[in-house]
């Protein structure tokens, strides 16, 4: 499903070059639940950005579902992010002006889905995360846990096979964090591939496998 081969990512700022990832090779199979761990600056976010098609590697090949990602244009990458990948961020990244409903609906709008299909799916997702009654509220009127559940619903809008979660519980109290982990575990059991960045061993324990990064390299 996700195959990274000898991935290197170099950031250049003026004359300085920073190697964020060095010859990283990772394979994540369909339906796996994988945690990515490592200290700050170890390249976790860079790896996630590359897997999430938000960034492209400097060298190496990335095959997503057997297709090369390297040659895709900006808009083709956008389409991949829209349909194949759902993002859950540490700080939720909901649109502040939009209601819960609108936030969940947005990926489907970008995909051009019709009104009936959207209404059906948003209703289903908001019910699934238990926030249908909060659909007209804006993010600022919701608790952190509620916001993260909305963000999860949004990530699932186009029913992507892959979920990328960047410290999904990092800004939540332990109870809300457990709720989110319960939903993620449920989704994984339903057959979805989940890749999660975390600092927390307890949270990582929910996953099947842990990839540890240090100084831009995978530690065996």
């Amino acid at each position: 499903m996700i195959e990274l081969e000898d991935i290197t990512k170099v950031y250049r700022t003026g004359s300085q070059a920073l190697e964020a990832l060095r010859n990283v090779s990772v394979r994540i199979g369909r339906g796996e639940f994988v945690s990515v761990m490592g200290p700050s600056g170890s390249g976790k976010s860079t790896l996630m950005n590359i897997i999430g098609c938000l960034d492209t590697p400097t060298a190496g090949t990335y095959l997503l579902d057997g297709d090369k990602v390297a040659g895709l244009s900006f808009d083709e990458l956008a389409a991949v992010r829209n349909r194949k990948i759902g993002f859950v961020f540490q700080n939720f990244n909901l649109l502040p002006y939009a209601t819960a409903w609108e936030n969940v609906e947005l990926p489907m709008l970008f995909d051009g889905k019709n009104g009936k299909a959207r209404r059906q799916r948003v209703t289903e997702l908001l019910n699934a995360v238990g926030l249908f009654d909060w659909r007209e509220h804006r993010p600022s009127e919701l608790s952190g846990g509620q916001q993260q559940r909305i963000s999860l619903a949004r990530a699932l809008a186009n029913d992507p096979p892959i979920l990328l979660a960047d410290e999904p519980t990092g800004n939540l109290d332990s109870k809300s964090g457990e709720e989110i982990m319960a939903i993620l575990t449920e989704l994984w059991r339903g057959g979805r591939t989940i890749v999660m960045v975390t600092h927390n061993d307890h949270i990582a324990a929910h996953s099947e496998r842990i990839i540890r990064l240090f100084d831009g390299q995978v530690q065996d």
Partner: protein, 416 residues
Amino acid sequence: MNLTLPRFFWSEYRKRRKRTSLITFALFWGTLSILLLMAFGQGMTTQFRVAFSGLGETLIMVYGGQTSLPYEGLPKGRQISLFPEDVDYLKDRIPEILRIAPESYGYLPVSAEGKEINRTVHGTTAEFGLMRTQVPQLGGRFINPDDVTEGRKVAFIGWKVATDLFGSADAVGRTIVVNRVPFTVVGVLQKKIQDSMYQGPDADQIYLPFHAFRQLDNRRRINQIHIQPREASQSLLIESRVKTLLGRKYRFDPADRYATSFWNTIEDAKEGQAIFKGIEIFLGIIGALTLLIGAVGVTNLMYAAAKERTKEIGVKLAIGARRRTIVGQFFLETVFVFAKGTFWGFVAAFNIVHLIRLAPINYESFGIEAYLLRPEFSLRIFVAYVAVLSVLCFLSGIFPALRASRANPIESLRYE
């Protein structure tokens, strides 16, 4: 076309629109300025034409003169006069003439119902009325061909003459005495604005059938001949033919500039219209510059929004927005901002123009207000305005939108 995204953009815009109120005002003001200035410009041009047509549209007046060149053994300094038979002489020989009329006049005593005044009294034919915009008030008429051939004692009088002699009473059917000869009033001139004249405004004139007038004034020669060409573009051609024909008849050099003289209103009107057209364009440019200030405000606002909303753009890109979606949103928001401001500006301008047009014009003393109080809208103004607006809207929207769409999703997501 899928209207779902524009609808979402609209709902996002509505939540932010408070921020746009000052800019909306600038656009409102710009629209008001450009439309009012153009409406006043066009109104002035129209009023100029109306005032000019008070004398007569597409009219050439021919006068006699004095030769300044010797010709065929004759000395210079000879008087050249026009005579009634010249009218048919010219009409028979110049096919481009549509209408032609002789005119003689004299300053004569006129009395009615115990009042006596002195006015310029004219003798002419029915065609004069058509050429010189002599429109009668309801219930009256101008001199007709039978009046002329039968030498009827009838008169067509200016509205001021009617007031001077009869007050507010209806003058038609009443008798006026011109130089001790009674005439029946058959029509009173309708009020009109007139900026060009000889012998004073038509409001003060009295017109009699040509032959009837000649019984009061026994000169053989006439004062002038009025000619209307079939096509306005033929006016200079007609002038030169008249010179040639009269030169042959009265034996003067057709190139002699002083033997006859012409008042060619067609050429005058062209000049006047060019001046007013210039003023109109100038006013339009000032208006467009005012609107430009509003447009710069919008650009500034959208640039600020593009920066302020970096994170939002990042989120949208992360969940699958394409570049054109981001460009589209910023562009549409620009259109929304423009639409709001300009709509109200349009409504205000339309109403102001309408209100100003309600103001009455004083026909007795035709002044500057006659030009200023009749602003008008036209399709041309609307098209010009929409063109300027579209260009400004496009330019103000496109650069911020492109900037927003060039955002890097990762950096945008990190932006706080």
